[in-house]
């Protein structure tokens, strides 16, 4: 059982404070309310992609041009993006924070969703460090993820282990 909720407005506020310029994403069911909150934030440009494998190379291009992008894709999409993660994030030492929707996650570990079963082993295998965020109480991890990515010149994942709350909840 996960206590507390994760409010998209709080995450958006953090992204603004951290100077994020672009949010490169393919929406998924868990992050629908986050997408809505970002549409109301003029300082961050939403960049929708057609397939998750595009997200990391687009972010790499934005970073080269002096911008500060983040990527937001679901765990199932991260698996599709594997070669881009290998070649264009790990391969070039890209300091990129990736928000990964942790579809199927629960704390009991008995999920029937293989998208959840494989996420943490996948990140370990690909040598990508990560935090799991499940509520507003965990949001201190977000700036830490940016620090780690910048310090190591490596991608860093923030796994979103719950559905973003609807505004007003």
């Amino acid at each position: 059982m996960i206590n507390g909720v994760l409010h998209p407005k709080n995450v958006v506020e953090q992204l603004v404070e951290l100077g994020v310029s672009h949010y490169v994403t393919l929406p998924d069911s868990e992050t629908a309310h986050m997408y809505k909150a970002l549409m109301d934030e003029p300082s961050i440009t939403l960049v929708p992609v057609s397939r998750e494998g595009e997200a990391i190379p687009v972010a790499a291009g934005l970073f080269v041009a002096g911008q500060k992008p983040v990527v937001s894709i679901q765990n199932a999409g991260l698996y599709e993006a594997g070669d881009a993660l290998r070649g264009l994030a790990l391969g070039i030492g890209l300091p990129l924070v990736m928000f990964i929707g942790y579809r199927g996650h629960n704390r009991k570990g008995d999920t029937p969703d293989s998208a959840a079963t494989f996420l943490e082993p996948f990140l370990h295998m690909w040598r990508v460090d990560y935090f799991v965020i499940e509520s507003d109480d965990d949001l201190d991890r977000v700036p830490l993820a940016f620090e780690r990515a910048a310090k190591m010149n490596q991608p860093f994942a923030v796994a979103i282990g719950t559905e973003y709350a609807k505004e007003g909840e």
């Binding site: 960049v47 057609s50 291009g61 080269v64 002096g66 070649g87 070039i92 030492g93 890209l94 010149n153």
Partner: protein, 202 residues
């Protein structure tokens, strides 16, 4: 039919200070034509993603012209990029697709559908305009005008295939060169030398 060498020469003549993101056989010929290596990235690691990297640069630096030297096989592997690019419509993005109907670097096997007309697909996705050239004279004449029109533009070039028969011997060197090229380009575009070593090559 156009040769890679001629196509790259003509593009370079109109390049100015544009960024160029290339891949595969285009990179081999572009590296010989280009006189601005600090503005070049050759995508060897992360197959098919040259257009996505170029698109990101174009979005991030809207005052800078960005050229992508893509190929038919690579574009087929990342076809959704056309809709992504059309959706954000960067006016400074020019997408060259070298169409030879084969996978050159693996020995010349045919593409699943060698007759795809990429200019028509780009137009249908919503690119600002799209063009197709089969001879170097027409391409040479038209290119300066195309590069002064608003992007995103797709320019399909029908080229003579160059199937590689001796194996790919540059892969490791190209992969190792990529992180250096990314850093050199960031330095050139931002005037900041702030991206330290990272990854397996640096």
């Amino acid at each position: 039919m156009i040769t890679y060498e001629d196509a790259c020469r003509v593009i370079n003549e109109s390049r100015g200070e544009a960024v160029a993101v290339s891949t595969m056989t285009q990179t081999k010929h572009w590296n010989k034509a280009s006189q601005e290596p600090d503005l070049d990235i050759g995508i060897s690691n992360g197959m098919s993603k040259a257009s996505s990297v170029g698109f990101g640069i174009a979005l991030g630096d809207p005052d800078r012209t960005v050229l992508c030297l893509d190929s038919d096989g690579s574009l087929l592997m990342n076809f959704g990029t056309l809709a992504t690019i059309a959706g954000m419509a960067p006016m400074n993005f020019y997408h060259f697709v070298f169409n030879n109907g084969i996978y050159s670097v693996t020995g010349g096997q045919p593409l699943p559908a060698p007759g795809v007309e990429y200019a028509k697909v780009a137009e249908a996705c919503g690119y600002a305009s799209a063009h197709r050239f089969e001879d170097i004279e027409s391409f040479d004449t038209a290119l300066p005008g195309i590069l002064s029109s608003d992007g995103p533009v797709l320019i399909e070039i029908i080229v003579k295939g160059e199937p590689q028969t001796e194996g790919v011997d540059q892969t490791w060197e190209s992969n190792a060169n990529m992180p250096k090229q990314f850093r050199a380009l960031r330095k050139r575009l931002t005037n900041k030398d702030d991206w330290g070593p990272g990854g397996p090559y640096l």
